[in-house]
Amino acid sequence: MVLKDIFTKDNSLIDRTSGAADRPLPLADPLNRFSALVVDIIILFPVISLLISGIKRRQEISEWLSNEFATGKFLLSYIIVIFLTVLFYQTVSIALFGATPGKLFFNIRVVSIWDRTKPNWGSAFTRGVYWCLGAMLLLFPHLAIIYHRQRRPIYDRLADTIVLGQERYSVSPPDYRLSGVLKGILTGFYIFIIVSFISKVTSEPGDREVLPFGSTLFAKPQVDSCNVIETTLPKGHRAKKTNRLSQSLNLFAAGILEEDCLDKEADNELWNGKPSVQAYAAKALAFNAEPSVYEKYQKKVCSMPNATDYCLLLKAKKYDGISPPTKLNAQYQKLTNSLYPDIQLWALQHWMRVNNFTKALGLIEKLELTSSLGPFLGLQKLKALWQIEEKETARLALFTFLPNVGHQTGLITSAWFCYEESLRECGPAQKRICDWFNDHLKQFQNKDLPTMVALSVVRSTECAQEPLKNANDFFAAIDNNETRSLITRVTSKHKRESFYSWQSLFLQNSLQPQNKSEVGFRWLSTAKSPTDLSAIKIAWEREKWNLGDHGIAMAKELQKRLIQEDRYQEAKEVGSFISTSVGPLTRLPASSPPPRKMGKNKK
């Protein structure tokens, strides 16, 4: 390779192209060079299509068979074939004719800078290699044709070549200023890419997803989400009693198993075994989102003998989200006494939802004897204990519970308690559990963060009065857009003052109960006027059954604010909602009026 053109101090070429010499070189017009490239692409396209057809076929078969399919593997094969074809085309045509067919068509030639003859094989090959590398960088290095004084991109300079055209169609070297500006912009762009790359590579391992080298190009082993059935099937004396379908129904009721996995297990029993009530019920539950199919399976279940419990469950579940959950209490009371653990789990979820924690605790005790869903039941028990104001018992139970469960459950549980403690009071108790939560969080790769975890991170940093660390990475790691937009809004330094209507809309339209309650808390903390409080009260009335686990905490906060504003009647309404579930904890003063605000006394 001849590099003397790059390092030489000989300015004769520059002189000649810039017109310092008697006769300037006829530099090829960039438009001609672009058009020549188009013609070359037209010629090469069918050839490359033919050459890669075999790889394409293999890719199609691989996709069809779902064989650890890696797009990167085929992409790499495509790049290699195209690279070699273009290199061959460039080298042979330039070494033999001094131009590619496209260049011949537009009457431009590649010549050696030293003697203006066609380049030798070495130069043609070098030029071809760097041309292809430049093309792989999205043709950015080729843009030097516009700004370089001799219109020579890096491949021309490395191969000691120059592209010349006919005298009458040639162009002069680019203007110094324009050339400088364009070069500056491109250099800036290159620096930006390099700096971004280096910062990505050298960022702290905890802040980014750690993947083995090359894993972005090659296939990652797919994790079958249905494997959870095998991993949670009880061992020992319980194993005989629990079959796969029962376990799948339990896991589905606990929200651990996906619909598709339940459907698969039900199909397995229906098509390969003896169709049972449980299998038909599982099909109905798996098609919960499709009412017409759900109804067909529900009718089938109800028409079968010994299917009273499942029939009742499916009838009750049909009205989930349609009517207020308290209207289904009678049905779920019957289901509480069912012998099937999965039906009891649905009943447990109902009691937790309607905030009847006493009933929920009773059911958990019963379930702990029959079900193998220890961590799930443990978490529900802790939540129920917390809600019935057995806070110290809940805290003690929490610290015995956390070391004995898996990381995922540990993270979710600690996140839930960190959030609740942060809502209650920022202090030593809150700090202890939030530290525990942060320790759990560090053990995870920061990606696909659930809403509960993301909200706890925000609340704990607020309590610690610290700014959010690596905010951009954190936002990117949140697993859903709704939570991301909510957190971006609440952590924004430039909060908009008039965003009450947004909060009301969010409460109505949000799909995540935790986000709903978070918005409710934030709204309450910023409400200044009685009108704001009225708006919150109306929104709460509408959404009180959809606020998830933190609904009670929000109701208490709302009740507190209403009492402060002397709105006893409304406070009583909220209080009655709380007392039906967790007992009359916040009592209104019977005889003496509540203490008035200092400001009002002054008036």
Binding site: S35, S49, S53, R57, I61, S66, D263, L270, P275, K296
Partner: protein
Amino acid sequence: MIFPWFKDMFMPSLVKTPVTWCLIYIMLIAFFLTATQSLLMDRQMQNIFSDKLFLQTQGLLYSRFLNSQPNKASPLIKAKADQALRGDRNALRIMGFYALRDPQFFYKYNTAKTGQDDVAKKVWRKKIKELREIISMHPTYEMGFYSYNTDWTRAITYQFVHGGAMHLFGNAFFLLIVGSYLEPVIGGAALLVGFLFTGFFGALFYTVLGGTLSLAPMIGASGSVSGLIGLFGAVFWRQPVRFIYLTLFKRGYCGWIYLPTWIFLLHRMAFDLAGYMSSTPELGTSIAFSAHLGGLGMGLILGYILFGWSKATSQSVFSH
């Protein structure tokens, strides 16, 4: 961008190229007569296939059907059916779609009325009946060519039916290009025979090279247009023909160029060959490359037999 461009191409003339324009008119009329019905039927079919329970049940039944006939399916399809039977839900849905290609299953298979998942089977029986009715009335299926069907009248009718406006436009445009060159030289009757015969031969090739007998219909004039391109290549083998090229919208970068026809022929052949080689016949493609290749090859042979290489003079081509 570069393709042949006859200077009087867009001047419909019943004197110079009557057959070419008649063929285009017939294709247009066929399209407008069938478009509404096709659209309606397509929507109904989409509704049926958007039913997850139907699709999964069909996939399961079809996989079991293939399993019961070990020698019938190709190894690739069998492998997918095995995946579906092992519980891969995605494979199950793919097999549900794929069942539509198998005439034996689609028209003849029926389930026992009781046992196994009664609800799913009832839904499937109802929907498959609807689907069979839709397909029996669908213009594409009524006039299209199937590799499993020996009704060779369809090998003619399929050439005039198109699946969409862009499909029709592409074929009509290339028919116009090639027809306006060919018809004045070889005559309208020869062009019509060439169009129909090469299209017929394309269908034959599609059946032979298709791999499996499929219920998926082949439609469109692309096989016949490829045949005419073959004929065009044979007749004007080395004659310089006018092409239009466009690299930039600027004077000097677009215009006319005279190139021998074999370049165009080779270009087209390379694309079709690449398409054919990159597709797996059992899995099917949206473009019938085998029909293109069959038509093109037949056009070349026909041109050679009837007219010999380069019999047409450049004078006859450019005398218009």
